[in-house]
């Protein structure tokens, strides 16, 4: 018997749609699509607190993966060509703060990673003079989603930097 009542349109990529189709057992293609899944990565809320030296600046941003598969942030670069490193501050139980370079950041399916003070951040090397309101284009390279652009705004509003 032909599955004639199943419209021939591209299968939705999101996990939720896959589950719906799969549960109706309409198309084995739909189920296969679920297993592979795809990440759906968006980068937003990129802010750079006005740096205190011209040597480095920290960028905080949010990465949301609303897709059905993990993705991995492999690196970051800036429009003006400065080096950018992924760093993480750790604050131990006694309050001692330390910082380490992070090679990659995994963004799991359905998860949101918030880079914020006292945690993950992008460290821009030698950004030069940055003033409140300045904007900088950043490029985030993901393993599966490719390169995503985001505009980071320099701000002196630290309540905004620390998050509402």
């Amino acid at each position: 018997m032909r599955v004639s009542d199943s419209p021939r349109r591209p299968q939705p990529a999101t996990a939720r749609a896959c589950i719906r189709i799969g549960s109706l057992a309409l198309a084995s293609i739909g189920i296969a699509g679920c297993v592979s899944g795809r990440p759906d990565v968006a980068v937003r809320d990129a802010v750079i607190p006005v740096p205190m030296t011209a040597d480095s600046a920290s960028v905080y941003l949010t990465i949301e993966n609303s897709g059905g598969a993990d993705d991995v942030l492999k690196g970051v670069s800036a429009s003006s060509g400065q080096l950018a490193h992924l760093h993480e501050t750790a604050i131990e139980s006694d309050g001692r703060a330390s910082m380490r370079a992070v090679g990659t950041v995994r963004i799991k399916a359905g998860e949101t990673v918030r880079m914020e003070p006292g945690g993950l951040h992008v460290m821009l090397m030698n950004p030069g003079e940055l003033a409140d309101g300045d904007q900088l284009q950043l490029y985030l390279a993901f393993e599966k989603s490719g390169v995503k652009h985001v505009k980071a705004t320099v701000t002196d509003d630290y309540d905004e930097v620390l998050g509402g």
Partner: protein, 226 residues
């Protein structure tokens, strides 16, 4: 630690950041035969402040610091009677220190009267790079009124011990000459009675400081020194 708080990153950091101090305070209380069995890490016991109230207050340090003009600076005598916020960091610090200093600068700009004259002391622990001159240039980015202090590593170590803060760790230089600096992330608040009753963890907001500073000036602390 309560499970319900674990989900709240800020609350967790706030509590964990002063856990060591809180534990010391709790022990002291017990030794004094105090009826209270409350741990100082319990947010409900923090009297409505955004920091953690210590079970046992700390004295202002009298370590042999040097200010940004190169002159000796004794915190205990130079800031006696004044509301003083003290933190330890380094001038190349990209994350924790600039956040602290900017939040404090922003807070004080918006205040008037006595609380606007709160002293802020930043101790540079990266003694190779945090020279008096480098400290002044760094702090002037936010406020010429911020006091910058440095000292020999053993003097800083001793002061941190006295203040029950974690020690500084300076890592071995890498190939490119950079090295890791680990430092306490807390801010100590010394009140006009010359004691520190309360320690602020990383992540306190400007609006919380604006609420707390006037209260810190006038708060009638129970006498726990007997």
């Amino acid at each position: 630690m309560r499970d319900s708080r674990m989900g709240n990153r800020r609350a967790f950091l706030r509590t964990a950041g002063v856990a060591a101090l809180g534990a010391v305070g709790a022990v002291s209380l017990a030794a004094c035969g105090d009826e209270s069995d409350s741990a100082a890490t319990n947010e409900d016991d923090n009297l409505g402040f955004a920091g953690t109230v210590l079970g046992y207050p700390l004295a202002r340090p009298s370590a042999a610091f040097v200010d940004t003009s190169g002159a000796p600076f004794n915190v205990a005598t130079e800031t006696a009677g004044k509301l003083t916020l003290m933190l330890f960091g380094y001038t190349s610090c990209p994350d924790v220190c600039p956040v602290h200093l900017n939040v404090l600068a922003g807070t004080l700009e918006d205040l008037h009267g006595r609380e606007a004259r709160t002293k802020v002391i930043f101790v540079g622990v990266d003694t190779k790079r945090d020279t008096p001159e480098a400290m002044r240039t760094y702090l002037d980015q936010r406020s010429p009124d911020f006091i910058g202090l440095t000292a020999a590593p053993d003097v800083i170590d001793e002061a941190l011990k006295q203040l029950m803060l974690p020690s500084v760790i300076i890592g071995e230089p890498r190939a490119d000459g950079s090295y890791v600096v680990e430092h306490p992330s807390q801010i100590l608040a010394f009140t006009p009675d010359d004691l520190c009753h309360i320690v602020y963890p990383f992540g306190v907001r400007e609006n919380e400081w604006r609420t707390d500073l006037p209260r810190l000036l006038d708060y009638d602390w129970p006498d726990t020194t007997r």
